[in-house]
Amino acid sequence: MDKRSSVFFLGAAAIIALAGFTAEASAQDKVIRIGGLFPMSGPGAYFGAQDKQGIELAIDQLNKTGVNGYKFEVRFEDSACSPLPATQAAKRLLDQYKPHVVIGEECSDATLAVMPLMAQAKVPLLNAGSSSIKVTDPGNPWTFRIMPNEVMQGVDIATNAYKRLNARKAALLYENTNAGIGNAKVFAETFKNLGGEILAEIGFGRDVNDFTAIATRVAGLGKVDVIPTYTLEGQGLRITQALAQASVTKGGGGQAIQLGTIWLPFGFEQKAGKAALGYVRIVQFDPTDKRGVVQDFVGTFTAKYNQAPTHINAHAFDQILVIADAVRRGATDSQSIRDLMATTKGFAGVTGSVEFDKSNQNIKMDTIHYMETLPDLSWKALGWN
């Protein structure tokens, strides 16, 4: 090979390498980076484990073809359902991963803590599991929520308790967090306005283990019709069992009906056992829903994980689809994802519909599904919404 040929080949090789690099860089640029802020440790860790499954399933499906030429990737950080670790995790994500959009947290206190960081970084935060009204009222322009807030849930539960269950006396049990206190307050106000009576409002810390004493106190209140309960899964299990042991609830031969929230995962009844009999609770996802999107999700999820999906899996799945919907409509970066998510309309996810109001709160109520626990610990969809 003479000198001219060598120069030619070297030049050609350089051009090919440069073209390859440019193409690779371009392919890398066509990725939407999603930060996942979820509790992977502590009492809310079950959220993170289930969120991760739903998110990974959605991304697997979307990345088969891509959306508008974009693929999706996610990095998770453990936010521990608590303000301090959540802010630390959010800072790590923003500094190191530079996400276009962040999803999470599940616990209201943690979500409220990371919201200012996201607003400052101008990165949209899409939430699916926090119920505190403060997340979107006043909220900030960068935070969105697809889950019904505590007012939407609380008013609905209290109204149904009064009108459909004919409840007149209630005892409230709640964890002492923003979400626990807020949900209980909304229920109490609505129930009292309807003419009901609140016999006791009992708050407790997340470190309480033994609920026998609390169940004894509820038993001492006399006739109680409903017991709205706002806790994470672990404490919820023990409360349900303690109330049954004290013969307060139907599961223990009593008359009271326990009312639960979206916070509890599927499978709660099987863990609580007979004590859960008659428990009425709302979930964000009805696996018996006949819509194609739901049945497809149930099928693909079961095939991938060899287990039935929970509503936490479902709302995590929907978070990714809401982002993908914005990308489908032309979003390419944080600002356009925020702007186009704000104009979401007619989105039909597996949990229900999504349409945001001016404060970025989903206004659709079809994401609330009421379920009642039957004697065989299966569910009956009550179809109240």
Binding site: P39, M40, S41, G42, P43, A45, Y46, G48, A49, N176, I202, G203, F204, G205, D207, V208, N209, D210, T212, A213, I214, T216, R217, A219, G220, E233, G234, Q235, L237, R238, Q241, A244, Q245, A246, S247, Q270, K271, A272, G273, K274, A275
Partner: protein
């Protein structure tokens, strides 16, 4: 109302008994070594998981699982002492073992998180929901009866061991003066190891009985251990009798605060008592000379 008050008394004694089991281990170690073992909480958790897996995975009997948890706890106690306390003790530092046990605690918690996962386990023993109706509308579950029975028996056996046996007396001698005990032919290192084994066995056993009450996750023990530390201080660091009284007292205070005030205030009441004890009676409920402890 009297039924409710009586019921809260029963509830308080049950949980107080569990607190005592966990706190006794802490007080034993402090009494002999003047050291705090922060990994004690994780021995409780591991004991609960040992009982869970023995019962639900291997199909074992729950009552036998309490013994299994005791053995697992004892083995872990031996390991923590051999791997952490003994080598650091030889260096003569008092601070290093303390910090090392914090490290061991974090290590164990995260190892359990990997092994067992983050989702709470539903650990119900066959006795968890079997209720025994007592007089005047009061009740107790068979699980709680087992807790009271096993705790009482264990405390009695521990007391007899410490007061009546040669090993128990030797242990007390080491607690009083390690060097002099050594001159009398007692091997302090062996007895320190024994202390760790007994303390951790109690914690493991406590875990097996707490499992059906606790929200069983890799972090379960930490929710109990804070109260256990408070009980050890209220009872008098290293004082077995004081720890027993303080444990039952804290259990009762929690129950009656829940009934008469608010369950959200139980920690405030318990820790106010702790601060009051530190300010007014720093030696604890039973003021003894340190050499008479353990």
């Amino acid at each position: 109302m009297s039924t409710v008050i009586l019921q809260q008394g029963i509830n308080g004694i049950v949980f107080g008994s569990l607190y005592v089991l966990v706190a006794l281990g802490l007080t034993l170690i402090y009494g002999v070594l003047v050291q705090i073992n922060f990994a004690h909480a994780d021995v409780v958790t591991l004991g609960a998981f040992a009982a869970y897996f023995f019962t639900f995975v291997f199909g074992g009997n729950y009552l036998v699982s309490i013994g299994v948890a005791l053995v697992v706890g004892a083995a872990l106690g031996w390991l923590v002492n051999a791997a952490i306390f003994a080598p650091l003790r030889e260096r003569g530092s008092e601070l290093l073992p303390l910090i090392a046990t914090i490290g061991a605690s974090i290590l164990l918690q995260n190892a359990m998180l990997i092994w067992f996962g983050p989702i709470p386990y539903a650990f119900d023993s066959p006795y968890s929901n079997a209720v025994l109706r007592l007089w005047g509308g009061t009740y107790i579950t068979w699980q709680n009866l087992i807790i009271i029975g096993v705790s009482t028996l264990t405390i009695a056996m521990l007391y007899a061991f410490m007061k009546l046996t040669y090993m128990g007396k030797a242990l007390r001698a080491v607690a009083q003066d390690r060097e002099t005990a050594g001159l009398m032919g007692i091997d302090p290192n062996k007895l320190i190891m024994l202390t760790f084994v007994i303390a951790s066995a109690l914690a493991g056993m406590g875990g097996a009985m707490l499992g059906p009450i606790l929200v069983l996750t890799p972090f379960a023990g930490t929710t109990v251990i804070v109260k256990a530390f408070a009980i050890v201080i209220i009872g008098g660091f290293g004082n077995v009798e004081g720890t027993i009284i303080a444990g039952l007292l804290v259990g009762l205070i929690e129950s009656y605060t829940t009934q008469l005030v608010n369950p959200g205030l139980t920690d405030i009441v318990v820790f106010t008592l702790l601060l009051a004890m530190l300010a007014l009676r720093p030696t604890g409920l039973i003021a003894e000379k340190r050499e008479e402890n353990v």
